[in-house]
């Protein structure tokens, strides 16, 4: 069992330990409590060491040492008083040591607990301890850097009690130092505490099954000897080490995991409860935002580490990706919309040399007549109309009327210099497969209905243009001129030499031709209902659509139901060849087969056409080739394997509607600028580069994110701060040309520890994800996974090296607080669909489709996909109706371990793309009956979830609806599953 900090689990669990537990949170209390405990203190102490977890040792060291010395003597009532606040204690009914129990102030829990506790009591326990630890160190250490992050309150807490004590102990501390090892008594006590723990442990609400696991968690690995309670001596070591190193040297806070089996437990390996789990979803590090309040919101731009290394050597020691993830059009919550600024006659204020847009970090000098560019430090003149006087502090007096000088995200209205042609109207073109499989699956009907229902909401009324082409073995064009009452269909069967029959009337203004379009959509399903054509002239149809659209650009939505079989771009059934896996040819399966697709994608981008692919086939359709079109045109791939309108119709309807109605930026280009000395060198995502640093995005919307990596150009950065500016030049649906500018600043640091401290796991994982998926296109899946692992290992090893010298770490793994989920996400990533296993683990099409999808996902969605939420809902469903409003309360995420699943429960698993509704084997039949109606006993895979006329069913539907609304970019189709009869228990 690996316990990160053996101590952590133990804390919560034991009654006696409670004091300890409390202690961990606030290191000080610890030491203080130690004395207070008196005899018990011995137990107590040991814990602290253990408890302190890896981090604790250092941080704790300060306080803990005193404890040892003091122990015997320590009679410190005050201490006990300090702790008082512990909900956790109460939980444990049986505190073996009453006195100690009381003492235990449960400070720590408050901070860390909330997230963890919800799941299961057992689960919750470890976490609390966990978090506290991190916090603790700073306190104890009193390390200046960290202070900033921690709320002042915490700081205070520890001190009051400790003050007197601390001062006392410290002096003692050093001298006794040598004596440590000798302290045997402590050790013996430790064991005793141990059993007690177990006892206490039991009480928790958790079912018996949980129990064993608890022990595991709880038991600090004595064998490991890292920090077992028993191994108090060892604990001391770190402490002892400290004095030498000097307290101040300890400026790092980190957490640790030790991988070793607990003495008393049968199961080896890690204790699952002790592992950090991102139950809060994506948490954006806030300390950075506080440092630079004028930065753009992290939803737009996130750096993998907010501390930019100042030298090449530092970069080479940072094994994680160094870069940024940008989501330029992320949806802003109500009230935080990006302000639109129109400079009108002044023209947009930009730096003459580097073309940086004016932003909050520029400085005005020379009485307001000049401004200095923050990126290249060039002095620019302030145009007359933009002039304003400076006040005494050097700030412009009109600051409050100039959002661009206050806010990190603004949008400028671009004058005609920013247009190469008049802004294009929003344009939607549909390329619909009408071959027999499309008809049979009901896809055409759903698509036609959805498009029709969205006609009113298409952005850009009244300029919106629309057009259709359908195809099977021939290509059908539709003349929808407004003067017609009925659309005219023209069939072109010459696939080798495509021509467009009526170049002008195939693409029409929606508001003018509304009736014709509606008539067409109404009749589309019936027109082809008897079609028995099995061929698909996809390539020629695509070319035809390209010809029609090339004048304006726009968005091309392709609905493809079978493998392209005629004309250019026809694809072979190369299929998923088992023999190819593990060989050098493996990656070729994931690349487009025919260069036609890449060439076509390049042409489409050139003419500002963005492609979204909707693929429906139950057979192999070579998504790898089709998806290429979407990849290089900034689009996305929607894949509905074995589409049946009855089952998947709702999903398609929702996602197509979202695609059609979300705010879209047309004919866009994006560039990210950064200060001198650094440069963005590689870009990852769905787009095409138009020049070395210019991303061409024919149609971009809020669900797309782009990642980029940067490198140092100079060997040494001399500036204190580096600025980044993302500029997206686009045509809004209303026909205005706009520039969305996001500006952020980041400090330059000289210290690797600082980089780790300011690291952002979400951005790192997002970049890793893109790099790994790209790697699958040039090498084996296994290589991609290995290189991912290797980088994480290297990074953690480097981090370990930072600390190994000053602290004895034993066999524990240490990691910075900011990266505590990195390993978990890394593991999740290598188990994600694009990367997992080999031949048998995922269909090739599915693999490719989700690869394309993940390349474009914003950080938050990606993290949710990698670590889905698991929610238990049966209790909520059974509650009397009066309390039904507690919706928020039930949304507690459980850790994704087998132990979270109770066979009497009903769970929802939500990864943002699917729901899995899990019925426990012993779930009361009433619930199942209410939710599923008369079919409740049937095979669940064939049952679709519909609303029934009872409260429970309505509530379930409400839950699902709320979950979906929390992120509307995809629709989660519920998939029902029942716990299997035979459940194999695996040790976590």
């Amino acid at each position: 069992m690996g316990t990160e900090n053996p101590g952590r689990p133990s804390f919560p669990m034991r009654p006696s330990s409670t004091p300890f537990a409390s202690a961990p949170p606030t290191v000080r209390p610890f030491s203080s409590s130690g004395p207070a405990a008196g005899p018990e203190s011995s137990n107590f102490r040991p814990i602290p060491p253990g408890a302190p977890q890896t981090m604790a040792p250092f941080s704790a060291a300060g306080p803990s040492p005193p404890a040892r010395f003091i122990d015997p003597s320590v009679p410190s009532p005050p201490i006990t008083s300090v702790p008082p606040s512990g909900a956790p204690y109460q939980r444990f009914p049986t505190p073996p040591f009453p006195s100690s129990a009381q003492t235990p102030p449960n400070r720590a829990p408050p901070v860390g607990q909330p997230p963890f506790q919800p799941p299961t009591s057992q689960v919750s326990v470890p976490p609390p301890s966990f978090r506290p630890q991190t916090q603790v160190p700073p306190v104890a250490m009193g390390s200046p850097p960290q202070n900033a992050n921690f709320p002042p309150s915490r700081m205070n807490v520890p001190q009051p009690p400790s003050d007197s004590l601390l001062s006392g102990p410290r002096p003692n501390f050093q001298p006794p130092f040598p004596g440590y090892p000798s302290k045997q008594p402590v050790v013996s006590q430790a064991p005793s505490s141990f059993p007690a723990h177990q006892g206490s442990f039991m009480p928790p609400p958790a079912p018996p099954s949980a129990f064993p696991s608890h022990q595991g968690s709880y038991g600090p690995p004595p064998v490991a000897t890292n920090l077992g309670y028993q191994s108090r001596d060892q604990m001391q070591h770190p402490v002892s080490a400290r004095p030498i190193g000097g307290v101040q040297s300890l400026t790092e806070d980190f957490s640790s995991l030790s991988v070793a089996s607990m003495p008393g437990s049968m199961e080896p390996g890690l204790d699952y409860r002790a592992l950090p789990r991102p139950l809060d979803g994506d948490v954006v590090p806030s300390s950075f935002l506080e440092m630079y309040p004028m930065n753009c919101d992290p939803r737009y731009l996130r750096l993998t580490t907010s501390a930019i290394p100042n030298s090449q050597s530092l970069v080479s020691r940072w094994h994680l990706p160094l870069g940024a993830v940008v989501c330029p059009l992320a949806e802003a919550p109500e009230g935080e919309e990006v302000p639109v600024i129109n400079f009108a006659s002044t023209g947009i204020i930009r730096c003459r040399r580097c073309r940086t847009y004016v932003n909050p970090y520029v400085t005005f000098t020379d009485a307001g007549r000049k401004w200095r560019c923050n990126i290249c430090s060039l002095l620019n003149d302030v145009p007359g109309e933009y002039f304003a006087n400076l006040d005494a502090t050097g700030r412009r007096i009109d600051l409050d009327q100039r959002p661009e000088l206050v806010k990190g995200s603004v949008e400028f209205v671009a004058p005609t210099e920013y247009m190469v042609r008049p802004p294009m109207p929003p344009l939607y073109f549909f390329l619909i497969d009408v071959s027999i499989s499309a008809v049979r699956s009901g896809m055409i009907e759903v698509v036609a209905q959805t498009i029709r229902s969205c006609l009113d909401e298409l952005p850009g009324f009244p300029r919106t243009q629309i057009g259709f082409i359908t195809f099977d073995s021939t290509i059908h064009f539709y003349n929808m001129k407004s003067s017609l009452t009925q659309p005219q269909m023209m069939v072109v069967s010459d696939l080798d030499d495509i021509f467009v029959p009526l170049p002008d009337d195939l693409l029409v203004n929606l508001s003018e031709s509304r009736n014709v379009v509606e008539t067409f959509l109404d009749s589309l399903p019936s027109m082809f209902q008897d079609n028995v054509n099995v061929e698909s002239a996809f390539g020629p149809a695509l070319k035809a659509a390209f010809m029609v659209m090339s004048q304006l650009g726009g968005k091309l939505l392709i609905f493809q139901n079978s493998l392209p079989s005629l004309g250019v771009g026809r694809l072979k059934l190369r299929g998923d060849d088992l023999r190819a896996y593990g060989t050098d040819k493996e990656h070729i399966l994931r690349l487009p087969e025919d260069p036609f697709y890449k060439q076509m994608a390049a042409d489409l981008t050139k003419y500002q056409i963005g492609v979204n692919i909707y693929a429906f086939s139950d057979k192999y359709t070579d998504i790898a080739s089709l998806g290429t079109l979407a990849k290089y045109t900034g689009g996305q791939v929607y894949y509905y394997p074995s589409f049946q309108s009855g089952i998947h119709g709702e999903k398609l309807r929702h996602e197509l509607a979202r695609d059609l109605t979300r705010e879209t930026a047309w004919e866009a280009v994006m560039r990210i600028r950064c200060g001198k000395g650094i440069r963005f060198t590689s870009y990852h995502g769905n787009f095409m580069l138009r020049s070395t640093d210019l991303l061409a995005l024919p149609a971009v919307d809020c669900d797309k994110a782009y990642a980029m990596q940067l490198s140092l150009e100079e060997t040494l950065l001399t500036t204190q701060t580096v600025y980044f500016q993302v500029a997206l030049l686009y045509t809004a649906s209303c026909g205005e040309r706009r520039i969305r500018v996001h500006t952020a600043a980041a400090p330059v640091v000289t210290d690797l520890g600082e980089m780790y401290r300011l690291a952002d796991t979400g951005a790192i994982v997002s970049l890793f994800c893109r790099l790994a998926i790209e790697k699958t296109l040039t090498s084996k899946l296994e290589d991609a996974r290995n290189s991912l692992q290797l980088r994480i290992v290297k990074a953690l090893r480097e981090y370990r090296n930072l600390h190994a010298v000053q602290h004895r770490l034993g066999a524990r793994m240490i990691y910075p607080e900011s990266l505590k989920f990195l390993c978990l996400y890394g593991l999740a990533l290598s188990k994600s669909v694009p990367l997992k296993g080999g031949y048998a683990d995922a269909q090739l099409d599915e693999r490719c489709a989700s690869g394309f999808t993940m390349m474009a996902l914003p950080v938050k969605k990606l993290l949710k996909l990698l670590y889905p939420s698991l929610i238990r809902i049966d209790e909520y469903l059974l509650k009397p109706s009066g309390q039904a409003d507690g919706f928020k309360n039930i949304m507690k995420r459980l850790p994704l371990v087998a132990e979270s699943l109770d066979s009497r429960g009903l769970y929802i698993y939500d990864d943002g793309f699917h729901f899995v509704i899990w019925f426990g084997r012993m779930l009361s039949p009433d619930i199942a009956k209410n939710l599923l109606g008369p079919e409740f006993a049937a095979e669940l895979s064939r049952v679709t979830l519909t609303e029934h006329d009872n409260e429970m069913s309505r509530r379930l539907m409400k839950i699902l609806k709320n979950l979906r609304e929390s992120d509307p970019s995809y629709y989660q189709l519920p998939c029902l599953t029942r716990q299997a009869k035979l459940m194999i228990y695996s040790s976590s």
Binding site: K598, Y632, L689, R690, S691, T692
Partner: protein, 152 residues
């Protein structure tokens, strides 16, 4: 004698053509990097001359084999093999969608090729000169027969 001279003259021009082609491709790539050229145009330009260059180079190599110029054949063989490999892997054309990602490798590859062509050029030039000297002044050296001692 006359055939020998004609052969080397031919080789000389082929080599110049190869040099020019490499140089042009390199130039296009640099232009692309400096943003003087958009990727679509750069890819079209380069891709349009890749195959002719391969063919020409293949012919160049083959002609040495057929005329039993072993040294020249061996020295042109690596490039031919590399070209064949690229072609059979269908990697000989620039991928316009990923052009910036491959830019550095492509440039390096063309630099190396340019250097090899230059080396060949010096040899060819030398052989051309010697061939022409022998052709025009053969009567002077007939007894000496320097060629055997020099290059055969």
């Amino acid at each position: 004698m006359a055939w020998d001279l004609i052969f080397w003259v031919l080789c000389f021009f082929i080599n110049i053509a190869l040099l020019a082609s490499s140089f042009y491709q390199l130039l296009s790539l640099s232009d692309l990097e400096a943003d003087h050229l958009n990727p679509f145009e750069a890819a079209t330009r380069i891709n349009s001359i890749v195959l002719p260059e391969f063919l020409l180079q293949g012919f160049f190599c083959l002609s040495f084999l057929l005329t039993w110029h072993w040294f020249m054949f061996i020295s042109t063989l690596p490039i031919t093999v590399y070209h064949l490999m690229l072609y059979s892997n269908r990697k000989h054309l620039l991928d316009v969608t990923e052009i910036f990602r491959d830019l550095n490798t492509e440039k390096k590859y063309r630099f190396v090729k340019l250097a090899v062509y230059l080396l060949l050029f010096t040899v060819v030039l030398f052989r051309l000169l010697s061939a022409s000297i022998f052709f025009f002044f053969a009567w002077k050296f007939e007894e000496l027969d320097i060629r055997t001692s020099l290059f055969y």
